[in-house]
């Protein structure tokens, strides 16, 4: 069996073989560590926080509105789950320098490669439509005509990636991620019972009424919205595009862990916003309506911030999901695919991104578009795709031919990951049964 040896030549070769590099000499190991972490920081936070997209906002506030703070413990449980899955992606991306789609194509053959790509593109595109639907909804509640605001949002999203600089895109996107701290301000403003929040975060419990069909599906929706298939493709491609080095593994892990913590905290704050609606007996169909109806009890800040953060969530989701599509398509087609390339050098990559964003925005503007069906399709397809996507990730992380001893999964990794896969499969089967025979699950 052929086994690859990991070879590192970065900043450690001889003068004869190294060109000048841009860098900074520091005299403190501590400062060196901090600065190195800051240069690596980005993909982990972005992949996690972009998953708090429009659909996630809707799911978390609905969970808060229906069950108050009683489901906060599920978010805490999902923190290690989401970290362990994305940590595998980090190792695979750094070791191979290739995207996830390219690896599936190479190691599992054409059928699985095509299936993964088509499924990813389909789910991603449907998700993009829901992102623009949320932008449209929030804009209409802010008295901005969607016909004007949605195309404007699409143009901004396209301009974000067209600078030909990975770093510029990353800085803007990290800034947008940090804006989501506004959810913490909203959560503080609606003044939840602090003791109850802490208790329900750390002590698992079933809400009053017991395990019902609606609770089961809400839990599946929370799991499905916290861990999404596009995240696997996005982070691996992002790491490959940023050219993270073998020595960056520990910093990329830290980035991913901090991203997971940040995301779960923000998700919890979204649930607390929903909890405020429950406390004030506000009923709503979507988060924009909730924001409007909370105005009387919680003030203008909560209303405006919720609407703006809904748009921010959708923008973040759109740029990350569209990029995961464009990277995956570029990898499989063999096109140049890097944010660090100008559009003339990677036309197929940028065109895929532009088509994804433009078409999704256009569909939302069609009067009478079946948005409810699209949302249903997204949830079900993502739920079906996720366990199988993680199985491929798990098999790739046990591929010693590719990863060698240094990056391959340890036995404890496999135990944790197979447990996660089994749980996700059970949830996926419940979802499948609900699709196949909805009458088996009476509303309760």
């Amino acid at each position: 069996m052929m086994t690859n040896e990991v070879l590192s030549i970065s900043t450690a070769g001889s003068e004869a073989t190294l060109p000048p590099v841009r860098g900074r000499v520091v005299r403190s190991r501590w400062l060196f560590s901090v600065l190195t972490f800051l240069t690596v920081f980005g993909p982990g936070l972005i992949v996690m926080e972009a998953d708090n997209d429009a659909g996630a906002v809707s799911t978390y506030v609905q969970a808060g509105a229906q069950y108050g703070t009683r489901l906060l413990w599920i978010l805490l449980l999902l923190l290690p789950v989401t970290y362990f899955i994305q940590e595998m992606v980090v190792r695979l991306g750094i070791a191979t320098g290739k995207g996830h789609a390219a690896m599936i194509y190479q190691r599992f053959g054409r059928w699985w490669g095509m299936f993964s790509l088509v499924d990813l593109q389909l789910v991603n595109f449907l998700t993009l439509v829901t992102e623009f639907a949320a932008i449209s909804l929030a804009l209409s509640h802010m008295n901005i005509a969607p016909k004007l605001g949605v195309p404007l949002a699409a143009i901004v999203l396209i301009i974000m990636v067209l600078s030909g600089s990975y770093r510029r895109w990353e800085r803007v996107t990290v800034f947008l991620c940090l804006l989501d701290l506004g959810w913490v301000a909203i959560a503080l403003k609606v003044r939840p019972a602090f003791g109850e929040v802490v208790h329900n975060t750390f002590v698992p419990g079933i809400p009053q009424g017991g395990v019902t069909a609606s609770l089961t599906f809400l839990v599946i929706a929370i799991v499905g919205t916290t861990i999404a298939p596009w995240q696997l493709f996005f982070q691996q491609s992002c790491i490959a595009d940023k050219r993270l080095r073998f020595s960056d593994v520990k910093w990329a892990r830290l980035d991913t862990f901090l991203g997971a913590v940040f995301t779960i905290v923000v998700a919890g704050c979204m649930m607390l916003a929903g909890n405020a609606a429950k406390m004030h007996a506000v009923t709503f169909f979507d988060p924009a309506q909730m924001a409007n109806d909370l105005h009387a009890s919680s003030g203008e800040f909560v209303r405006s911030a919720t609407l703006l953060l809904m748009i921010n969530a959708a923008v973040l989701g759109t740029t990350a999901i569209s990029l995961s599509s464009a990277w995956a398509y570029g990898e499989v087609k063999g096109w140049p695919h890097s944010l660090d390339m100008p559009i003339r050098k990677a036309p197929g990559f940028y065109l895929t991104y532009i088509v994804c964003v433009g078409l999704a925005a256009a569909i939302v503007l069609i009067p009478g578009a079946p948005l409810q069906l699209i949302i249903l399709g997204v949830q079900v397809l993502a739920g079906i795709m996720l366990p199988s996507a993680i199985i491929f990730l798990q098999l790739l992380l046990n591929d010693k031919e590719v990863l060698g001893q240094r990056f391959v999964n340890r036995p404890w990794n496999n135990w944790v990951n197979w447990t996660i896969i089994i749980v996700l499969f059970i949830l996926s089967l419940i979802l499948a049964a609900q699709v196949a025979a909805p009458n088996l699950f009476p509303a309760s």
Binding site: M2, V6, L7, I9, S10, T11, A12, G13, E15, L18, P19, P20, V21, R22, G23, R24, V25, V26, R27, R29, L31, F32, L35, T36, T39, V40, A95, T96, G97, K98, Q106, R107, F108, W111, W112, F115, R167, K242, R243, L244, R245, F246, D248, D340, P370, L373, L376, G377, V380, L381, I384, M385, S388, I391, L395, L403, A432, V435, A436, N439
Partner: protein, 82 residues
């Protein structure tokens, strides 16, 4: 203004003790990653192959089921009964 300046190779390779050089990954020399070009598809045991075949069947059935369900909800097969 960037805190990173252009460093000569000698500065990078011959650092005095307790001096460290921070380089952004995109500014660094390209690393040679693991070579996967000649590997082809992954060798699998019969049980893994069988499991993947079962997974393929499950996914095809589920995709068709979802398609049917969505078309049903859209009223393609007549008015929904539930």
């Amino acid at each position: 203004m960037s805190v990173f300046g252009l460093l000569r190779p000698a500065t990078v390779t011959d650092l005095p003790e307790n001096h460290f050089v921070v380089v952004h990954p995109l500014d660094d020399v390209r690393e040679q990653k693991v070579n996967t070009s000649g590997l082809g598809t992954m060798p699998m045991t019969a049980s893994v192959k069988l499991s993947l075949m079962a997974l393929r069947g499950y996914l095809i059935v589920m995709m068709l089921l979802v398609l049917y369900h969505v078309l049903d909800l859209a009223g393609v097969f007549g008015p929904p009964v539930h």
